[in-house]
């Protein structure tokens, strides 16, 4: 039996799963142990690089999460006809990418414009929730999708449609951006003190503190409100 078949079956595990306590939701468990639409092996990934309409990669192994997403898109209908992925990360990162791939391809495939409306909360909701400190996993899935769609826009000469999320420098001395603060909030820092501990924001550039506090409130409400 090859690895792909083993993952589909996951027999040994399933037999035991029923009665066990589990850290995440049942849906996360399902998508972690039996992920959907994954690409197994480096070779398959290389093949997909060549033939996909859009490829997106976000995160890094140093951060503990990295995702790569391959999309097949029908030009005429702008529907996503296929979505494959690979993920390095924890269980909720794997489950988030798996769930996102299902959301994109179910019911004949989602239209690009519709797909771009997906929010990290939507992925988390379909997974029946993620623990707060794992919420960034669904954000990463969302970002991978955006990167893949942008790649499609570029490849098809639709540069005008590329969505650029520019970062704004908040802390002028340490060059800390609003993205960094967003990232910190997503990782569980919900007040100024913890965000500062994580990012060192405002340690030298005291003038930015009110703006940082405002951003923390904004992102806290956006993701957790």
């Amino acid at each position: 039996m090859n690895m792909e078949e083993k993952i589909q079956l996951h027999k040994d595990v399933e037999a035991k799963v029923e009665s066990k306590k589990w850290f995440y939701s049942e849906t996360v468990k399902e998508h972690f142990f039996k992920p959907k639409n994954f690409l197994l092996s480096e070779e398959k990934a290389k093949e997909a690089d060549a033939k996909s309409d859009g490829v997106g990669q976000v995160g890094s192994p140093a951060c503990g999460d990295m995702m790569k997403m391959w999309l097949m898109i029908d030009r005429e209908s702008e529907r996503i006809t296929d979505c494959k992925w690979q993920t390095f990360g924890c269980a909720s990162a794997i489950a988030s990418t798996s769930m996102l791939s299902v959301m994109l391809t179910e019911n004949g495939g989602m239209k690009i414009e519709e797909a771009l409306q997906i929010k990290p909360q939507d992925i988390a909701a379909r997974l029946d929730g993620l623990p707060q400190r794992k919420f960034h996993c669904s954000v990463l899935g969302d970002k991978a999708l955006r990167a893949a769609v942008n790649d499609y826009f570029r490849k098809t000469g639709q540069d005008a449609r590329v969505i650029v999320g520019g970062a704004k420098v908040i802390d002028k001395i340490l060059k800390i951006t609003d993205k960094d603060i967003e990232e910190a909030v997503l990782e569980g820092a919900h007040d100024f003190e913890t965000v500062q501990k994580k990012t060192k924001v405002g340690v030298y550039d005291k003038n930015c503190i009110p703006e940082v506090e405002q951003l923390i409130r904004f992102y806290r409400e956006k993701y957790f409100g």
């Binding site: 083993k6 035991k16 142990f33 140093a62 924890c90 794997i94 990782e187």
Partner: protein
């Protein structure tokens, strides 16, 4: 739960049946307060006293030097804050190292906010602190050095006796967190030259919720918990007699079996390390090959995240642990692995297997039968393909 597949003994251990039996009478039969003058109280006092005698013998110290606390963490807090408060007129500088347990690091950070100064020493690639460096950072206002005996994540055993000597030469007091060392290493405080030592029972088959602080006679310590003056005025609160009795029993058993158990575990540890590195490509041992706790194995499997392996193993009834991003509250990877100079990529893929009294060769073989394929699976799902040469 199959105890043979429990490889998380450094987190906590099962309570030994003999310990459970020893504790039983003190919950609802001999439940008196050791401070009471009636028979029931005196009986409880007697149990408390003999537990203290047992532990004093274990540490080779006198009875009054053993203070019972509520956990290893409490002992550590008490030693560091208690010494700092008592000595702050003399100086406000403390020395520790980067790979300490959060109980030490967070306590030191708290003290920094209170105006103390703390030096966090670097460690080498195996996790050893340098004696030369320690000598260099000693100052006239240094009041305390806190260096752990053995590391909880990577098992590195520090040259504790030598560190104690450097402290003595500099007339600085020395505290060691011995929570992981107890039951495996020499705990003779006189031989080691220690001023304060913290340990607990939940890592050596005793109950949770009880710890000891050894305070060398005459060493200053400002109490953190004030009240009825129990524990020689150093830690007030009615003594938790059943747990204290349990701790003493656990220590007695562990001490009696120590030599044999250390030999048995060392052999299994080396077998597990050898086989893991052999059977799983791109795996790296964290910590020193031999100067580590007899029950500690910590390995990084490149290109996979530790949590995925941990959860998959759990489905087979195998318990291990990870200090990586996903178990910690902050999502930061293990501060210990990072302190070794390993990159973040390596820290994210580390897994700790801590063996124990109920570990068998068969259990290890079962683990070895499952892990290589599990690692392979998540590597195949991973878009990251780092080579050892890139690390």
């Amino acid at each position: 739960m199959n105890k043979e597949l429990y490889f998380d003994n450094a987190a906590t251990t099962a309570v030994d049946e003999r310990v459970v039996e020893a504790m039983k009478p003190y919950f609802s039969m001999t439940y008196g307060n050791p401070g009471s003058m009636h028979t029931l109280g005196l009986e409880a006092k007697e149990a408390l006293d003999s537990a203290r005698v047992m532990l004093a013998r274990f540490l080779n110290c006198s009875d009054e030097e053993v203070i019972f606390t509520g956990s290893g963490t409490e002992s550590i807090n008490m030693a560091i804050k208690g010494a700092a408060l008592a000595l702050q007129k003399k100086g406000k500088h403390i020395i520790t190292q980067k790979t300490e347990h959060p109980a030490v690091l967070e306590t030191c950070e708290y003290l920094e906010k209170q105006g103390f100064e703390v030096t966090y020493l670097d460690v080498d690639v195996y996790g050893f602190v340098s004696l030369e460096k320690l000598k260099e950072v000693m100052r006239l206002d240094t009041i305390l050095v806190s260096i752990m005996y053995a590391n909880n994540e990577i098992g590195t055993v520090q040259p504790i006796k030598e560190i104690a000597e450097v402290c003595k030469e500099n007339k600085v007091l020395f505290h060691t967190d011995a929570c992981q060392a107890a039951g495996y290493l020499d705990m003779d405080v006189k031989n080691l030259g220690i001023d304060y030592l913290s340990m607990n029972g939940s890592k050596l088959y005793g109950p949770k919720g009880v710890g000891i602080l050894y305070v060398k006679s005459g060493r200053p310590l400002s109490p953190l918990i004030h009240g009825g003056g129990q524990e020689y005025g150093k830690r007030s609160g009615t003594e938790n007699v059943p747990l204290i009795v349990g701790l003493a029993k656990a220590v007695e058993i562990a001490d009696g079996e120590r030599e044999r158990e250390v030999a048995r575990l060392t052999e299994m540890r080396d077998y597990l390390i050898r086989e893991l590195l052999k059977r799983i490509p791109k795996s790296l041992l964290n910590g020193h090959p031999t100067k580590r706790l007899p029950n500690n194995v910590n390995v990084t499997f490149l290109n996979v995240e530790g949590e995925t392996l941990l959860l998959e193993l759990d489905q087979y009834g195998i318990c291990a642990s990870t200090g990586s991003a996903c178990t910690s509250k902050t999502l930061e990877p293990s501060h210990v692995i990072l302190a070794l100079g390993r990159p973040y990529e390596v820290a994210h893929g580390s897994l700790r297997f801590s063996l124990g009294r109920y570990t068998t060769k068969e259990g290890i073989d079962k683990l070895l039968g499952i892990l290589p394929e599990t690692v392979e699976k998540y590597r195949m799902l991973s878009p990251v393909h780092l080579q050892e040469s890139q690390i």
